[in-house]
Amino acid sequence: MVNLGFSIGDLLFKNPVLTASGTFGYGTEFEDFMDVSKLGGIILKGTTLEPREGNSYPRMAETPSGMLNSVGLQNRGIDYFEKNIYPHVSGYNTNVIVNINGNYVDDYVALAERIEKLDKIPAIELNISCPNVKMGGMAFGTNLDSAREVIKAVRAVYSKKLIVKLSPNVTNIVDFARIAEEEGADSVSLINTLLGMSVDIKNMKPSLSTITGGLSGPAIKPVALRMVWQVAKSVKIPVIGIGGIMNTSDAIEFLIAGATAVQIGTASFIDPQASVKIVEGIREYLADKKFSDIKEIIGLINRD
């Protein structure tokens, strides 16, 4: 018997595999392929106060071992969410977490207040790292003062678990993680996408309508792992690793580097069952290596 569970404060997760925001819809899109309740948690797609149409088509380009997207937080807003999505997702027997976004600090605060009232949402992921919106998003996540301001403001109104999602597009991600910890975040998740670009040489134009977009997939895994390792050494709150995790072995790399849990993103597009397969894969790896608790391997490379 292997224990896969972990916790953020007093919030328990049955296993360390969550799905990454914007790559798993509201979970419903995956019900034909898997039992969503088998996951440690799901992070719902980026939600804003008002409905958003996102950026124009084309919003996606394939790159070597990765993809660029510039969806730009298309979503129907919190009202629609409460009325039409919440009733369904609150039926999942796992932690359902909302990823929140805004242009201004007030937007984040208002959203957090609304979600605080939803019984079955035990945590929010504060996204200060979306590279695909003109205002807010990454602007908060690449400036230490703005990051502090928005985290502080949300923390003041939100009493459940607060996860801050960090941007990799910075010189020193550890500074941002420390600020999150100082301001009372319960956990940090990283990384969001790397800002990238691609050119269509046939038509001699950018591949994306927005020119730049967010790079995800295996291509970014080495960068994500490095950042997770740096952050895990530097803060005491749990670190959730994200970036290019396609299979069990990728997930284990993050755990050994210091992540307490992982999120599966782009992998779900190629294999909708990737996340549940990884839950099982981690169990087997631990059994194989004769560990009885996942905690034994977390941050193993920092331990001697």
Binding site: E29, D32, F33, E53, R59, M60, E62, P64, F269, P272
Partner: protein, 255 residues
């Protein structure tokens, strides 16, 4: 209609011309019910340049033999890899995905318009219409006589009109130039092909107040409504080509 992810066995790979081939797939389990216009997300093995799945329409279904077909044009690395598959190989599919073409009203006259590999979803549609008691006409456009594919197959479902750009067979010009369209006598037109063709046919239909459904080929990240990469602007806002489409009524599109 539940979606599934499944390894299917290649029963055959038939080359129609230099660029186009048909894969016949057979399921181990019973294949699901599919509808004309739906597609599959096909996994391409073994290349960093084909990281994402490729969307390919359901071309033809044979429930009795538990097989179905994909008609594919080589457009790049992914489709090239598919063209090398051999009998006995396996192909991983997520399917069936997307909405489907709607049936005409009873007694209405319909026309299917396809260009190049845009004929892919239309054969299944033609057969479906036929088995539902319609006799749709078909108008196919190709670059030249060598590019003509699936003529026989469509002939079995109804009358077939042809255009070629160089006039080497059928009428010369684009599909919208064909004489069968000169006096608008259809109630419903279904169209699939390159963007320029879709827009030309849509223009014709709007002018002549003919109902028209087009199948779009937007870039897709996931095919199941999770990534929001495949959107098309509609009067109802941005919709997903993979779940709200790929078939859209032209009146919905902001063209």
């Amino acid at each position: 209609m539940t979606k599934r992810i499944e390894d299917l066995k290649i029963k055959g790979n038939k080359r129609l011309n230099k660029d186009i081939f048909i894969l016949e797939l057979s399921g181990n389990a019973k294949i699901p019910e599919m509808k004309p216009g739906q597609f599959a997300q096909v996994k391409i093995e073994g290349s960093p340049e084909t990281f994402l799945r490729r969307p390919i329409s359901i071309h033809d279904v044979d429930y009795e033999n538990n097989t179905f077909k994909l008609l594919i044009q080589i457009a790049g690395k992914g489709t090239d890899t598919l063209s090398r598959l051999e009998k006995g190989d396996f192909l991983n599919l997520i399917y069936p995905l997307g909405n489907s073409f709607s049936l005409p009203e009873k007694g209405e006259r319909s026309l299917l318009v396809g260009g190049g590999c845009g004929v892919a979803p239309l054969l299944f549609l033609a057969k479906n219409l036929k088995s539902n008691g319609y006799t749709p006409d078909v108008l196919l456009g190709y670059r030249n006589i060598e590019r003509i594919i699936e003529y026989q197959e469509f002939s079995q479902t109804g009358k077939v009109f042809l255009t070629t750009e160089d006039g080497s067979k059928g009428e010369k010009g684009f599909v919208t130039d064909h004489s069968v369209l000169s006096s608008p006598s259809y109630d419903m037109i279904y169209c699939c092909g390159p963007d320029s063709m879709l827009k030309a046919v849509a223009g014709y239909c709007k002018k002549n107040r003919i109902r028209c459904e087009v199948s779009l080929e937007n870039l897709m990240g996931c095919g199941i409504g999770a990534c929001l990469c495949c959107i098309v602007e509609t009067i109802r806002g941005n919709l997903c080509t993979c779940t709200d489409g790929p078939v859209f009524n032209i009146n919905e599109l902001k063209w």
